[in-house]
């Protein structure tokens, strides 16, 4: 890749965005956040990573998935089993688990022939198949009883990733890394082709783009990212069972986060997931301890009605207006 090309893919703005994300992300540590608050942030960042993988598939390739729980669950189990049964170091097991989730996505290739709601429903069915497989393969997965004894995150060079601070830094780093990968792909020629596929697959094929191949790559990458976050979550929580690992929450929450934040942008799914999770758990739960989800529902409905492009779109609109006024004054 030429210098010009690489600078186009990872522009100063992208790096500044990544740097900003890291700085904002490290603020809770600097402010001395409690383990409780860090625990909530870790959970929200897991959803943010999953939201990124969902948005990547939806935004680049136009594939709306209702079954990301499949990749998340496969990644969870793969990492736990690799670490527990084969003794693979946890930090190596996590990307390997992403690889296993990628392999599992190959089973979904026939569904790539479908589009729109048909693809969404097909992938939802795949998620159910994997959940049932995890329940029935009790010799490997522990069946319905699940797995409780597998290694947690390790200590590396004196830095304990199992502690809340360590886990937080690791998950934050993973989210930033995945966001950068998303940016690079989005800005590449492949990304342009994928966005064109999302608009009109037939038109893109006419100009010679191998849409099936590109969509396959995106499905595999999305599965890889979702699998890695599933693996991270498994080692942080320390418990796995089929109903939890393949829970519908892992399919629905990333969609909600991405739509709330603005799934068309890279930063939207991250902020969306963090903002709605923290709003629900910190603000809504303190106002209505039991049944606080009603507040979340109201906020979500309001957001969709008032800002269809999500939080990122709303912020962008506010900034552009402010900028416009400054220009007008000048």
């Amino acid at each position: 890749m030429s210098d010009t090309a690489s600078s186009r893919l990872l522009s100063g703005r992208s790096l500044a965005m990544a740097g900003g994300l890291v700085v904002v992300g490290l603020l809770p540590l600097a402010a001395g956040a409690s383990p409780y608050m860090l625990g909530l942030l870790i959970s929200s960042l897991i959803l943010a990573g999953l939201g990124l993988s969902w948005a990547l598939l939806g935004n680049l390739g136009g594939m709306v998935s209702f079954g990301h729980a499949a990749f998340f669950g496969v990644g969870s189990y793969a990492s736990a089993l690799l670490a527990a049964k084969l003794g693979v170091p946890v930090l190596l097991a996590i990307p390997l688990a992403g690889g296993v989730a990628t392999l599992s996505s190959l089973a979904m290739l026939p569904a790539l022939r479908l589009s729109g709601p048909y693809f969404a429903l097909a992938i939802l069915a795949y998620a159910q198949i994997f959940r049932i497989l995890a329940t029935e393969a009790s010799w490997l997965t522990g069946g319905a009883a699940g797995l409780q004894r597998f290694p947690g995150l390790p200590t590396v060079f004196g830095f304990n990733f199992a502690e809340r601070h360590g886990s937080y830094v690791l998950v934050l780093g993973m989210v930033v890394l995945c966001a950068l990968i998303y940016v690079v792909i989005r800005r590449s020629y492949v990304g342009i082709a994928l966005r064109a596929i999302a608009e009109s697959e037939d038109a893109t094929r006419v100009v010679g783009v191998n849409s099936t191949l590109l969509k396959t790559w995106m499905l595999m990458l999305s599965a890889f990212i979702a699998g890695m976050f599933g693996a991270l979550n498994a080692h942080i929580i320390g418990f796995l069972e089929p109903d939890y690992a393949f829970s519908g929450i892992w399919s629905v929450m990333p969609i909600i986060g991405a739509v709330f934040g603005g799934y068309r942008s890279v930063i939207g799914p991250v902020f969306g997931a963090v903002v709605i999770y923290m709003f629900d758990q910190v603000i809504a739960k303190s106002l209505i301890p039991v049944g606080h989800q009603i507040l979340l529902g109201i906020v979500l409905a309001g957001m969709v009605l008032l800002a269809p492009n999500g939080l990122a779109g709303l912020v962008g609109r506010i900034f552009s207006r402010t900028g416009g006024k400054h220009h007008a004054r000048a």
Binding site: Y36, I132, A144, R149, I237, V290, G291
Partner: protein, 390 residues
């Protein structure tokens, strides 16, 4: 106006003088609890909460010097939120945690509690792995072995030729079905297990298979409330030639008979109380009266479990507080010293934190009443056998 102002000032002065004296004598200790107050397990969580509140009221009345209060957080039946709840409760000063419902919730939450050095007690998780982790602060009053023992005793006493077990693929029912299969097979009873996905609502195919292939004497349901209703409804339609329908948790309860009177008669489930409630112990009678007073209803299974665990924790806290070891990690030691008769029978905690004495009776629905039919020592009447709901 002036007179009322003087009266108010006098009252304020009296309270102001009296309050420090009372505070000096009374120590208030906070415990935390995470329960599924919303979501699919909300009903169980709310009943647990009721039993816990009654236990604290009685415990505080018995020991005015150390008052125990509880902060309850809804864990939404989600492991990550249960862990967050434990961390929040610990950071806000709770000396111990009462756990939620389900091993998938209790596992990670008790792990977090152990890392924070807080005693964790549960009555809602039966997985064997929970007590094999070597946690020093984990305690529970019930376990899979106790449920298994209660059901196996009844089934073996009835001497059936064959038993069909219909088991949910959820964790606790699966464990129970596996254990029962072993116990019954060891006694020469033919056992066939039919697993089903919890999403299933139509049990007619399974019942039909049992009717035509297994031809058992007894159908055993290792499942949950909604499953029992679906299974018995399907059996009522297909009428297999069985002699008894047996189930597990939350089946032999007055609520089930009230809601499904056409399905419950003669069905047997795990229980430790007959209905109308006949409590033999003094503590049980007080619990029943306080529960009636606070919630205007009869005590039930989950509330009793919660009552017992909370009472044991509260008493251990009071002992530790009086010995001055509560702030020095003495609570876990006091918990290990527990050895007392409760409404569940004798409770002790072994090295793993488990209660080795846990065993349940079996109760049979009889025209709106629940008769304890097994084991013989706890029975309040003879079992109706053969007897089915249709």
């Amino acid at each position: 106006m002036v007179r009322s102002a003087i009266a108010s000032a006098t009252l304020a002065l009296a309270l102001g003088v009296g309050l420090p004296a009372a505070q000096a004598q009374e120590k208030v200790v906070t415990i935390g609890a995470h329960m599924p107050l919303t979501g699919s397990l909300a009903r169980s969580g709310q009943t647990f909460n009721e039993g816990m509140q009654v236990a604290l009221r009685m415990c505080n009345a018995a020991s005015p010097k150390v008052q125990v209060k509880v902060d309850v957080i809804d864990d939404e039946s989600t492991p990550a939120k249960a862990v967050s709840a434990v961390e929040k409760l610990a950071s806000s000063g709770s000396v111990a945690i009462i756990g939620g419902y389900g091993s998938n919730i209790v596992g990670p939450a008790s792990d977090a509690s152990d890392k924070l050095g807080k005693v964790y007690i549960t009555a809602g998780a039966v997985s064997d792995e929970l007590t094999q982790r070597g946690l020093k602060t984990f305690f529970r009053i019930n376990n899979n072995a106790g449920y298994q023992k209660g059901i196996a005793t009844l089934l073996i006493d009835l001497k059936p030729q064959a038993v069909s077990i219909i088991a949910s693929t959820k964790e606790a029912p699966t464990l129970l079905a596996q254990g029962l299969e072993k116990d019954l097979a060891a006694k020469g009873i033919k056992v066939t297990v039919h697993k089903f996905d919890p999403a299933i609502t139509d049990f007619k195919p399974i019942i039909n298979k049992i009717k035509l292939q297994d031809k058992p004497d007894i159908i055993m349901m290792s499942a949950y409330e909604n499953d029992y209703v679906g299974i018995i409804r399907a059996a009522k339609v297909l009428k297999p030639q069985v002699k008894l329908m047996v189930g597990t948790w939350s089946l032999a309860t007055p609520k089930m008979y009230t809601e499904f009177p056409d399905l419950m008669n003669n069905v047997v489930g795990t229980s430790f109380l007959p209905f109308p409630v006949e409590v033999k112990s003094e503590e049980g009678r007080k619990f029943a009266a306080a529960y009636q007073d606070m919630y205007k209803k009869e005590i039930e299974y989950l509330a009793t479990l919660s009552f017992v665990e909370t009472t044991l924790l509260c008493e251990a806290i009071q002992r530790a507080a009086e010995a001055g070891t509560l702030d020095k990690g003495g609570l876990a030691d006091e918990m290990r010293k527990t050895d007392r008769d409760t409404m569940l029978g004798r409770v002790q905690f072994d090295q793993t934190g488990d209660n080795p004495n846990f065993a349940l009776s079996m109760g049979q629905h009889r025209e709106g009443k629940i008769v304890l039919v097994s084991p013989k020592a706890a029975a309040t009447g003879d079992i109706a056998y053969p007897a089915v709901p249709w």
